[in-house]
């Protein structure tokens, strides 16, 4: 199909979809309205379970099983990327050159790294009390590690980023989440991923039952996963050289 025909076919389909979608929107409850049957029940359940962050309550307590699926999807995607970005037989590894960095950039990175890591630790530890949680903290910690690449060079990043250990951490985080689900059988009428631990008092650090544990497992899986993911992309860009690049 030529580019022109393809565009016209799309525009026709988009017009139909647009009209149908707009018509459907007029049947939705008005924006900003008072009627939120699911939201009201989820917020009430969060308070009942003593989890101040209702979003964390939904993610780990009320729909823990969905989050397990999400976790496995993340695992699968990281695994797929690692397999796709492995070094091919006709490629070889080169040592990335040492790079000179401005002293101000280096100082900025050195100051910012502990701030970023502390922020991540706070977000994961308080994930059940204030906005945050394992997913967000994992991404922030992984970005923090890459300050080493920005403020120094790739060799320094490779030193502080043991990919083999992080591969294991990523898998162990995902496995820990799945294993924590079995704690749900501890109660009499137990079910998988039931938040079985004592719930404590609302707004206290020790509250929310297993939610902080789930957050920690997700933090390990996401943080290590993102570092490993970026490591493979950066390796492709900086270290792996194809046969053509070598001769050219």
């Amino acid at each position: 199909m030529s580019r022109r025909v393809r565009t016209w076919v799309f525009l026709a389909a988009a017009a139909v979809l647009g009209v149908a979608f707009a018509a459907a929107c007029t049947g939705l409850p008005d924006f900003g309205g008072e009627r939120h049957p699911y939201g009201d029940r989820a917020a009430a359940a969060a308070l009942r379970q003593q989890i101040a962050n209702a979003v964390a309550s939904v993610t780990f307590d009320q729909r823990g099983f969905d989050t397990l699926g999400e976790e496995l999807m993340l695992f699968g995607a990281v695994l797929g990327t690692i397999v796709l970005l492995r070094r091919a037989p006709d490629e070889r590894r080169v040592r990335p050159p040492r790079v000179r960095v401005l002293p101000s950039t280096r100082a900025y990175g050195t100051v910012l790294l502990p701030v970023v890591l502390l922020t991540a630790a706070y977000l994961v530890a308080h994930g059940h009390l204030t906005p945050g949680g394992g997913f967000q903290a994992g991404v922030i910690a992984a970005s923090g590690v890459h300050l080493a690449y920005l403020a120094a060079d790739y060799r320094v990043l490779e030193r502080i980023r043991p990919t083999a250990a992080l591969d294991v951490t990523h898998a162990a985080g995902a496995a820990a989440y799945a294993a924590l689900g079995f704690a749900g059988f501890a109660a009499a009428a137990g079910t998988y991923l039931r938040n079985a631990a004592p719930h404590g008092t609302l707004r206290e650090l020790a509250s929310g039952g297993l939610v902080p544990a789930f957050n920690t497992a997700v933090f390990a899986a996401v943080g290590a996963g993102v570092v490993v993911l970026l490591a493979h992309f950066l390796d492709q860009a900086l270290e792996i050289e194809s046969a053509e690049e070598r001769s050219g």
Partner: protein, 116 residues
């Protein structure tokens, strides 16, 4: 009246703009970017559905339990959405990299032949 549906329509608009990008794309990196735009329409739709006039964030860290809050369910879904979106984007970019290595192009119109 229009304000009652405008956020929903915005989500539909973002979806179609992203899809237009995918259909007319001449570079696979651009296709992946357009797909990310398409997907981001779901964040807008989810959060628009969950909004409540005068509602605050569904976090009772320092507010009373009687404060009106927006819907936490759709926010948790948006979180799932962001995670899925980021990982799928990474996977697709890895595929693009392989296509570029094996076929020497990232133009989808040039990638016609199957190669073992």
């Amino acid at each position: 009246m229009i304000m009652d549906v405008l956020p929903y329509l915005t989500a539909g608009w973002i979806f179609l703009v992203g899809l237009y990008g995918v259909v007319t794309s001449s570079d696979l990196i651009h296709t992946v970017g357009s797909l990310a735009v398409t997907q981001s329409s779901t964040y807008v739709l989810l959060l628009a559905i969950g909004y409540r006039e005068g509602g605050t964030a569904p976090v009772y860290g320092d507010t009373s339990a009687r404060t009106p809050v927006v819907d936490p369910v759709v926010q948790a879904m948006a979180l799932t959405d962001v995670v899925v979106g980021a990982t799928v984007t990474a996977l697709l970019l890895a595929l693009v990299l392989q296509a570029a290595k094996r076929h020497g192009t990232t133009d989808p119109d040039q990638l016609t032949g199957l190669r073992g």
